[in-house]
Amino acid sequence: MKTLRRLVRDRSALLGLVIVAALVAAAVFAWPLATFPQDVTNYDPPHRLLAPSGTYWLGTDRMGGDIYSRLLFGARITFLIAVVATSLAVIIGVPVGLVAGYYNNRVSELLMRISDVFLAVPQVVLAIAIAQTLGPAIQNVILALSITYWPFWARLVYAETRSLRNEVFIEAAIALGASPIRVMALHVLPSIASSVIVRTTIGMGGTILTAAVLGFLGLGPPPPTPEWGRMIAESRAFLPQAWWYAAAPGVAILLVVMGFNLLGDGLRDVLDPRMRRGGADAR
């Protein structure tokens, strides 16, 4: 509660929180909020490429679909991909980092070297290669993203665990006869949870951006799924006339990624006093 109150007092963090909450609301209430919910799957050629108006708030696309309604349903796709892919990356990365950081032997060296291999190319490149191999489907996008992003959490947890390893409270727990798993789960993990939460929040933004790139290249969920990146790709054939077609999904991506970034920065300030804003931070 105290955390939340401090978060709300930070204006930009509050903005981030509001944006993320709006994304969740859009995803959950897409049906009641949409003005033309049937346009997500149905074609309506007579009304194609109409400019924004009172009826079609953000205009219509090449199939006559209402862009505002399609964006709402697209929020579901974006949210689903980001949450599941990031969770999988956390589920793989955190245990790897814990084990590698807790022990100081060949296995930890090997685990960290493996994560280095994944970090040796930009994530987008690897994700594109994997997504292309698996074929355009939502579960493949999720898989590609989690395979490329887990090393970020492994690295973070590794570094934090390493620095905690010689703390008195960890040594005390070991001296009392706690098993390694118990020490990692009950003593190390709670101490590093706040950095993991911050990294995960900011990581959601990165995942959404990469997912949009995959959609843009045609590697995302196939049509008629209203995926934001694909909508932008489709709009290119109708520029410069149908500018709203390209603008709307891009603004949606921008706002959502910004929301997660701001929220992550705010959370860092609140949860992790060592790294106040202005300190060293990654994207």
Partner: protein, 328 residues
């Protein structure tokens, strides 16, 4: 430290080859069939399959590929039938030219902006810079590319929509069209190539600039509160000199460590931005070979980027050790 990293390069690259090989060989589609075309007979497909060793067991194909890479050849593109290494080299200057201009622009604009934002903390300027950086980091690069194209090329007609040059480029000296044109005194070509490069360069520069501003600002704020700055101020050293000489030097070390990250960002964005602007570089090559399931091309591209990426990070480490005696 640095020796250790150099020693780890080959195993890391080997791991990378292994991963990419595993990825690209799970592909259910048959590249030999794709290459032979729709109407090819089963025998023709078989001939192609044999020619490229696609009928060998996977471990053997892998060894063959590793052998090729070790000897500097990167195999033949399954699609263009040309050696991949040749394609990569011929496309490298286009991407380098773009990336270099983008990073220079990002540094030249980003560093002073970050310093000024830190000096006038919480001023209107600082808030504006902050809005720009936050936006720059949250924007999808391909979308920014399309917006710039829409505004400058389609509506205002100031720049070409796509491509790198009309017709053929100037006779290569460096492979950078702008520099080659300058060296040959060909002003028309120079102007033209500058108009072509402007938008992709801007698109790539913005997120890189946002990162640089952020770290420079944070670094300057950090150094400004340190004791040596108070001491220098007390000694009566002019503030301008303290800021632009002493503070900046310490603050830039923090920014420098991010060059690796920024470079990764540039390459990642180049992949899509080159595709949007139809820029004939490595990024658009990668996208087209990925979309054509061209194994060899994908593997070689990934490996190529991996090598460059590792080298850049290594150079950053060395530069940091030189600039920052504390790290030694």
């Amino acid at each position: 430290m640095i020796v250790r990293r150099v020693l780890w390069m080959p195993p890391t690259l080997f791991g990378l080859v292994l991963i990419v090989f595993a990825i690209s060989h799970v592909i259910p589609s048959d590249p030999a069939r794709v290459m032979a075309g729709e109407n090819a007979s089963a025998e023709q497909v078989q001939v192609l399959r044999h020619k490229y060793g696609l009928d060998l067991p996977l471990p053997q194909q892998f060894l063959r590929y590793v052998g090729d890479v070790a000897t500097g050849s990167m195999g033949t593109s399954l699609f263009t039938q040309r050696p991949v290494a040749e394609d990569l080299w011929s496309r490298l200057p286009a991407t380098l030219e773009l990336a270099l201009y983008a990073i220079v622009l990002a540094v030249v604009v980003g560093v002073p902006l970050g310093v000024v934002a830190a000096l006038r903390r919480n001023s209107l300027l600082d808030h504006m810079v902050r809005i720009v950086t936050i936006t720059g980091l949250a924007m999808a690069a391909f979308w920014l590319a399309i917006l710039l194209q829409l505004l400058f090329s389609m509506w205002l007609g100031l720049t070409p929509v796509q491509g790198r040059i009309d017709g053929w480029g100037p006779d290569p000296i460096t492979g950078f069209y702008t520099i080659d044109a300058l060296l040959r005194g060909d002003w028309t070509t120079l102007g033209q190539s500058l108009r072509y490069i402007a938008l992709p360069m801007l698109t790539l520069a913005l997120p890189a600039m946002a990162t640089i501003v952020r770290f420079t600002r944070a670094g300057v704020l950090n150094v400004m509160s340190s004791n040596f700055v108070f001491y220098q101020a007390a000694m009566g050293i002019p503030r301008r000199r303290v800021v632009w000489k002493y503070i900046l030097r310490s603050a830039l070390i923090g920014t420098l460590t991010q060059i690796g990250l920024i470079f990764g960002l540039l390459i990642a964005n180049a992949v899509v931005v080159e595709t949007v602007f139809d820029w004939p570089g490595l990024g658009s090559f990668a996208v087209s070979s990925i979309l054509q399931s061209d194994y060899n091309a994908i593997m070689s591209f990934t490996l190529f980027i991996g090598v460059v990426f590792i080298l850049v990070n290594l150079m950053v480490d060395v530069a940091q050790a030189v600039l920052d005696p504390r790290g030694r």
